[in-house]
């Protein structure tokens, strides 16, 4: 069982992560992860079936940095941003300085022309390195409620 200080640190990490994306500070996004990390966007049904392919599958911080570089400087898409609403964080088991946490989210997509709509809802399944501050994600699995993605997914969730 994590103590209150660790719990608070985990809450802070998860809130700061969403703010980073929503504030368009994508360059800072890889810093939320340890070097040898895993970031996966999947969906509920695939996750239940144990399918390992993800819409995004990053297995190192370098791959996260490449995502940011590509999103910023290479890929063509219509400008938009997200607003994440993350629900209560539940902190689970803690072993050897790794804490497990789950939370639910809604990501609203705001297009450059102001068109606004729900883009994704789902659940974050996290494993977090809490041995020293700042806390970092060892693994963040984004389990989308729906398998359908509208048009494209350029900015990470």
């Amino acid at each position: 069982m994590a103590d209150d200080k660790v719990r608070l640190g985990i809450h802070e990490l998860i809130a700061a992560y969403s703010d980073c994306i929503d504030d368009d500070r994508l360059e800072e996004w890889p810093d939320f992860f340890v070097e040898d990390c895993r970031y996966l966007i999947t969906d509920r049904e695939s996750h239940r079936e144990g399918l390992r392919h993800g819409v995004i599958y990053c297995a190192s911080r370098g791959m996260l940095i490449d995502r940011v570089t590509s999103t910023r400087r290479v890929l063509m898409y219509e400008p938009h941003r997200y607003r994440h609403i993350v629900g209560p964080v539940r902190v689970g088991a803690m072993t050897d300085g790794t804490a497990e946490a789950t939370s639910n989210f809604i990501a609203v997509r705001i297009m450059h022309d102001g068109e606004t709509g729900i883009f994704a809802t789902g659940r974050y399944l996290d494993r977090i390195d809490v041995r020293s501050e700042p806390y970092r994600f060892i693994e963040r699995v984004v389990v989308l409620d729906s398998r359908k993605i509208d048009t494209l997914l350029a900015i990470p969730l």
Binding site: S46, R52, H53, V55, A59, D66, K148, L152
Partner: protein
């Protein structure tokens, strides 16, 4: 002959009999879209239905669509694959509501009519009435009320179906070139490693053209050129069947040269953009023929892709004149070891809704659709590489797109 069968001209007129001009209204006209459902999807075409592996055992079924028509594909007790409409013969209710399942028979929830796994009507609830009252009249015959069946064919573990009694068999329909391209990729047992669906805000034909368009790849998908993945000099080819509807394009890669290039790049200290983690593109020549990209299409609704070591089936599902769903079914081979699986997962970042060389295809069709909104007079031009739809040994060409329209016009008329 019903009114529907009367040969009416499609509403969209073509500027000429040539293949290299495409009227914009073909993407926007609701009546054209309706006629496509009749003439293409319910007509003489083989549509992709599902993977044979999804219905491995007798009693397994999946619900899918042919065009917008709801269809059930089921493995019968005899092991044969059957396909029939997902519409109860009684009152037209949808029989299978979820995407897949397993059953001994298929029973309608509305009035309890039941069908076997070949679509034969086997049971009518209260057929003899209740307490001697009501019930079906004596002239009602169950064997006249079977679910409309589709012809079914399987190739390389892919299941196809057609409503048409007369269309040639699947392999003849595809032609030997495209059959060869399919067998090249799906050359050993495989399984699903992932799925996703992308909603495309555009007419289905804009996507069907996009996958046949070898011209756009190194322009729209700047990831390729930025990270020097695509060499314009790479040898390649476009292979089109006689009907024009089916094709595959290939690009080869000098795997050894690319590997040497990566190593050299690590030594360079220029300020060019570089990938921090090359594993997203690090490919293994698993077919031993240096082909790094093969995109294969089957008219009207299927794409089979090999992009390096990512293998996927893409299914094009029209939903409305300006909306399409694209199903991605990602595959791995049964003989993959852990390193190969990890390689496929990492390269998976190249494709799909978030794919480095696929993401733009999700939005560009929508941009075209938006530009055509109430501005759909005139025609677009597909003249790169000439006017015909012949196979070519180079890729700076729109020949495969012209092939699509050759097939389309043969089926649709007009």
């Amino acid at each position: 002959m019903s009114v529907q069968d009367l040969p009416i001209d499609p509403p969209v007129r073509w500027p000429s009999n040539g293949l290299s001009e495409v009227p914009f209204r073909v993407y926007t006209d609701p009546e054209q879209y309706r006629l496509e459902q009749e003439r293409i999807f319910k007509g003489p075409s083989w549509s992709y239905l599902c993977l044979a592996g999804e219905i491995a055992d007798p009693g397994d079924w999946v619900a899918t669509t042919v065009g917008e028509v709801a269809v059930i594909v089921a493995r019968g007790d005899d092991g044969a694959i059957n396909a029939f409409v997902n519409r109860c013969a009684h009152r037209g209710n949808l029989l299978c509501i979820t995407r897949k399942g397993h059953a001994k028979e298929i029973t309608c929830i509305y009035h309890g009519w039941s069908y076997d796994l070949a679509g034969h009507l086997t049971g009518v609830a209260f057929a003899r009435g209740v307490k001697g009252q009501g019930g079906m009249p004596p002239e009602f015959r169950k064997d006249e009320r079977h679910l409309q069946r589709l012809r079914v064919a399987e190739l390389c573990g892919l299941v196809f179906g057609t409503f048409d009694e007369d269309v040639e068999d699947l392999e003849t329909y595809l032609g030997p070139l495209v059959v060869g391209g399919m067998k090249r990729v799906l050359n050993r047992p495989y399984h699903v490693i992932g799925r996703s669906t992308q909603i495309l805000p555009n007419n289905w034909k804009l996507y069907a053209e996009n996958v046949k368009d070898t011209y756009h790849a190194s322009i729209l998908h700047s990831f390729l050129t930025t990270f020097r993945i695509n060499r314009l000099s790479m040898p390649g080819s476009i292979n089109i069947d006689d009907s024009g509807g089916n094709h595959f394009s290939q690009a080869k890669l000098d795997y050894a040269a690319e590997d040497a290039d990566y190593k050299a790049a690590k030594l360079r200290s220029d300020t060019d953009l570089k990938l921090q983690d090359n594993s997203v593109t690090e490919a293994f020549d698993e077919y031993g023929d240096q082909v790094s990209v093969q995109i294969l299409t089957v008219f009207p609704n299927m794409v089979l892709q090999q992009v390096r070591n990512t293998i996927a089936v893409r299914v094009i599902r029209p939903k409305a004149v300006d909306c399409t769903e694209l199903d991605w079914v990602h595959l791995g081979f049964d003989d993959d070891d852990e390193a190969m699986t990890e390689r496929r997962l990492r390269q998976g970042n190249l494709i799909g809704a978030a794919g480095y060389i696929a993401m733009e295809d999700g939005c560009v069709g929508g941009f075209v659709q938006r530009a055509l909104q109430y501005n759909d007079a005139g025609s677009g031009v597909v003249m790169m590489g000439g006017h015909d739809a012949q196979s070519q040994t180079f890729r700076a060409s729109e020949a495969a797109i012209r092939g699509f329209w050759k097939k389309y016009r043969a089926v649709m008329g007009g």
